[in-house]
Amino acid sequence: MIRAWRSDALVGILPLAALVALWWGIVAAGLAPRALLPSPVAVFGRTLASVADPAFLLHAWATLSRLFAGFLVALVLGVGLGLAGATNRFVGGVLRPVVRILAPVPKIALYPAFVLSLGFGDASKIVLVVADALFPILLATYQGAARVEPKLVWSALAAGTSRRAAVWTVVLPATLPSILTGSRIGLVVACIVVFLAEMITSTDGLGYLLVRAARSFQTVEMFVPLIAISALGLALNGALAALRRRLLAGFPNED
């Protein structure tokens, strides 16, 4: 199993390496002007140098802190509403149609409204992250909680657990796999949307760095924040996967 996985990972490096090689080849052969496509050596060199640059790290931190603040609020709201909707008839009856309406609305279009009511600072960006990351988490929680085997709940009720307490002691842990799946999507969405908000209106953050570089046509600098957000997303995803393995030790395996 482990060996198979390793060989898969090895095969997986190939297309990435080939892509970079192709990129390097195009630049080396002089097929594209440097101003339009800098060499991968320059791009990755600059990215590595940035990681040691305190100014860059401040921008990365601005992005990361907005991302986390928004994601955590979305997590609490999404799990809370999802559980309530699945376990309470009334809440579910109100929640379902409201979610049906709001989920397909492009949240980024609401951003100007957030800016108008909350200003250009952190608050409007965090609210946008919440609005975008909320729905994958909420829907996954709701669907997971609605599918919890009723006999698990019955087993707890028979042991003397109250209906209210069973939501926390049975429905919540039984829904954990779905919650983590929703969180994984929510986290990627949060990465994307915080970056976009910073591109649209900001004076700091990775998204701002991209816009600043684009305004002065510094092509190398344009790639750096993109690589940074990709790496950030991968790292967060990896951390969540590790958390998942820990938390779901007892659950049947799935991928």
Partner: protein, 266 residues
């Protein structure tokens, strides 16, 4: 709790409740606008009054229709490219392990953020915007086609082989129909994502389109127009989603209702 479980399948189905929810949300907006007297937020009634002005303006309407045309084309190209790729990934471990890392790396990158770079290469015209929309809509379609093809019952393939079907026709005549319900789940997410990518890329590139109108109005402090455009774009998202869900139900009514998690991000 049992009641909720039995209703889970029927959840989120179009009908009267969403209509009531719409009215409820608009009522909340109306109330909020009157409670917050900061001035930045026009109420729902004022915003609706603004709608004819935008939709009646030839130029603005032309811009919006142009955006929609790009969106539809981008989505169509994305589906045409992503479905075969996803199916191939689902049936071939080699293809999957080659493509998966590329997807993993590109997942957290906002596709609309590639706009500045792509514009360097392809100019500010349709081609750049189209490419960004294709990129934005592809990922969920690829992912769901992959999952759908992977879940196809092995025995179905065996019987097709036994009947002497070739690899290509197996993919077309067995794997594709079997994976169709899952593919359509991906497409549903993809179509909303293409709308989002379209709006976002126009917000960033700021030449034409619905996203551009939205931000120009913000710059010029025309708050009614800002909210009216939000209403238009939001309604587009809802209409696309409902229309797609109808089409899906008509196409694959035979399959169990899949639990689509409506992932929507730019």
């Amino acid at each position: 709790m049992t009641a909720a479980a039995t209703r889970a399948g029927a959840a989120l189905r179009p009908g009267l409740p969403p209509l009531l929810a719409c009215l409820g949300l608009l009522a909340c907006w109306q109330a909020l606008a009157h409670l917050l007297t900061t001035g930045g937020m026009p109420d729902a009634v004022a915003t609706f009054r603004e709608l004819p002005a935008i939709l009646g303006d030839q130029e603005a309407l032309g811009d919006i229709l142009d955006s929609l045309r790009r969106m539809a084309l981008g989505f169509a190209i994305a589906v045409a490219l992503s479905v075969p790729l996803g199916l191939a990934m689902g049936r071939s471990r080699l293809v999957a392990s080659l493509v998966n890392p590329l997807l993993m790396v590109s997942y957290p990158v906002p596709k609309a953020a590639l706009m500045p770079i792509i514009m360097l290469w392809l100019g500010v015209g349709d081609a750049s915007k189209l490419l960004v929309i294709v990129l934005g809509a592809s990922l969920p379609v690829i992912y769901h086609a992959y999952q759908g093809a992977r879940a196809v019952e092995e025995k179905m393939i065996w019987s097709a082989r036994a009947m002497g079907m070739s690899g290509a026709s197996r993919l077309l005549r067995i794997v594709l129909p079997a994976a169709l319900p899952e593919i359509l789940v991906g497409c549903r997410t993809g179509i909303v994502l293409s709308l989002i990518t379209m709006v976002t890329s126009e917000m960033i590139a700021r030449q034409t389109g619905a996203g551009n109108i939205l931000f120009n109005a913000l710059d010029m402090a025309q708050y009614e127009t800002v909210y009216a455009m939000i209403l238009v774009i939001g309604a587009l998202g809802i209409v696309l989603d409902v229309a797609f869900e109808r089409a899906r139900a008509a196409l694959v009514g035979w399959s169990d209702e899949p639990d689509a998690i409506g992932v929507t991000a730019a």
